[in-house]
């Protein structure tokens, strides 16, 4: 449908989908996709050692630490992101202000950059990766690792050949959850990223509200859902929910 009109009876066109790529919507889309992939990867890297420590080494502290990690989820996302921005603020922020008052060091700030948005994304989504991964790690029997070590495997081999495949279901669920949540996320970019990042959901919102270009907004929405479904559904089909829950 042409711009600035909305009539169900008007002629159908697929032009909007072509325009979506030529008129610079590829950029917010890439932001969202790259952001989601990077957040998922960083969360996995941070969560793996934490899950291993919690499951194998923490002993009686494991429950306490797990509860402490879960607790922030119950506090509203916007409150926590607001806290993050107060912490990062230049000059009068919690971090900069403290460093200045105590050590006399003056530091810059990453607030309103894409890195700040990424930090916020990792911060919000880390628990969503950690808990499924904890389930995955607990699926690894310790004697398998011992056996692999006895047979002469080094650390990297144990990780790649034993731990990773056995923990794969947990890792997959965590990655899916994080990825899907990140694709739709826009509060992190809005609160911490300032104007330096425009994620796809923000771009869609602007199409609908300021630009009054509903057909384009709708086309972008369909595109996002299609991309998400194309990534999520095949993985979901492979995942055997029954096997995981019966354990």
């Amino acid at each position: 449908m042409p711009e600035r009109t909305f009539e169900l009876t008007s002629a159908f066109t697929v032009e909007n989908y072509a325009t979506a790529f030529t008129e610079g919507y590829a950029r917010p889309l890439m932001w969202s996709l790259i952001g989601a992939v990077m957040t998922t990867a960083i969360c996995a890297v941070l969560a793996w050692p934490s899950a291993v420590i919690l499951h194998r080494h923490a002993g009686r502290w494991a429950t306490v630490v797990a509860a402490l990690i879960a607790l922030p989820i119950f506090i509203s996302e916007s409150v926590r992101l607001f806290g993050m921005s107060v912490f990062m603020m230049p000059r009068g922020g919690i971090l900069a202000g403290t460093l200045n008052a105590v050590f006399g060091i003056q530091i810059g700030s990453i607030l309103n950059t894409s890195s700040a948005a990424l930090v916020g994304m990792v911060y919000i989504h880390l628990p969503f990766m950690l808990f499924p991964l904890l389930l995955g790690i607990s699926l690894i029997p310790m004697d398998r690792i011992e056996a692999a070590k006895d047979l002469g495997a080094n650390r990297w081999q144990v990780f790649r050949e034993v731990e990773l495949p056995l923990a794969a279901p947990g890792l997959t669920i965590g990655a899916l959850l994080t990825f899907v949540l990140c694709i739709g996320a826009n509060a992190e970019a809005a609160i911490l990223g300032g104007r330096s990042v425009t994620v796809i959901t923000t771009a869609i919102e602007q199409r609908f509200s300021f630009a009054q270009d509903w057909p384009m907004g709708a086309a972008l929405t369909v595109l996002v859902i299609a991309i998400t479904a194309a990534i999520v559904l095949p993985v979901l089909a492979k995942l055997d929910l029954n096997r995981l829950t019966r354990r």
Partner: protein, 267 residues
């Protein structure tokens, strides 16, 4: 073995860093609320709880909480009923079209929330309903019902149908089977559904922004005030809101726990 001690210390340090990362922003909100100046200048010259006194004394705070609470409670009631019934269809019975039902149900979770809110606002106005907190309830339900349904469904995957059949064979009525066999089995799922339904609705911003109309729930107020008219009132209301939601959740949990203790000897 000195290396073992080092690795143990490293592990503790790692967990400490992760926990610090998760808690720094929360502590920051509390610290920010203890100022009495409009502009954030940390460390504060004067530490004060004025913002809290202002917040508790103002009518707006009460109004915000009442609206958020009305939305969240309505969402919890409807989503728990629909979610429980939906979970029965989702996981308990095998029927034609179940796979399609499962897929369609998950779809709203993938849908970007701000767009969902906007689309709902457009549909409401198209039908001629003016937005208020009641339309916000409908909007929240579109997104929360699937999540609650999934949470309850998980219980059904480990559910043994033979128990129900055994009860029927022993002469139980349909109602008795539901009350004595099915509900106690899926209860943990229903409980976490209630908990998450409440918290997701309480903290939802993208759906409320578009659909709540003139009634402002807490997250919307917080968002607009942070953007346009910041003062220490914002973090103090955030702290109050969080404490209120925590008290409600803990209170509900205690009530249910007490109820199950009272009921337990009777069975």
């Amino acid at each position: 073995m000195s290396e073992g001690r080092h690795t143990a210390a490293l592990r503790t340090l790692w967990i400490g860093v992760i926990l610090a990362f998760l808690y720094i922003p929360i502590v920051s909100v509390v610290l920010a609320s203890l100022a009495n100046t409009r502009y954030m200048r940390f460390p504060h010259r004067v530490w004060s709880v004025d913002a809290y006194r202002d917040a508790l004394g103002s009518f707006t705070t009460w109004q915000l909480h009442t609206i958020s609470l009305s939305i969240a409670v309505s969402v919890v009631i409807v989503s728990t009923v629909l979610g429980t019934l939906g979970a029965v269809a989702f996981a308990r019975y095998d029927w034609r079209g179940r796979r399609w039902f499962q897929r369609l149900l998950v779809l709203p979770i993938f849908f970007p929330q701000p767009v969902l809110g906007l689309a709902l606002l457009l549909s409401f106005t198209a039908v001629g309903i003016s937005p208020s907190w009641k339309t916000a309830v409908v909007a929240h339900l579109v997104w929360i019902v699937p999540i609650v349904t999934l949470m309850i469904s998980v219980r059904f995957f480990g559910y043994n149908v033979a128990q129900e059949e055994a009860a029927y064979d022993l002469g139980a009525t349909h109602f008795q089977v539901v009350r004595e066999i099915t509900l106690p089995q899926i209860w943990p799922g229903v409980f976490s559904g209630i908990l998450f339904g409440f918290l997701l609705s309480w903290s939802n911003l993208p759906l409320s922004v578009f659909t709540s109309g003139p009634d402002t729930p807490l997250p919307v107020w917080r968002f607009t005030r942070t953007a346009t008219n910041y003062s220490p009132l914002v973090p103090s209301v955030a702290v109050i809101g969080t404490v209120v939601s925590a008290l409600i959740v803990i209170g509900a949990a205690l009530l249910l726990w007490a109820y199950s203790r009272v009921r337990a000897p009777a069975r």
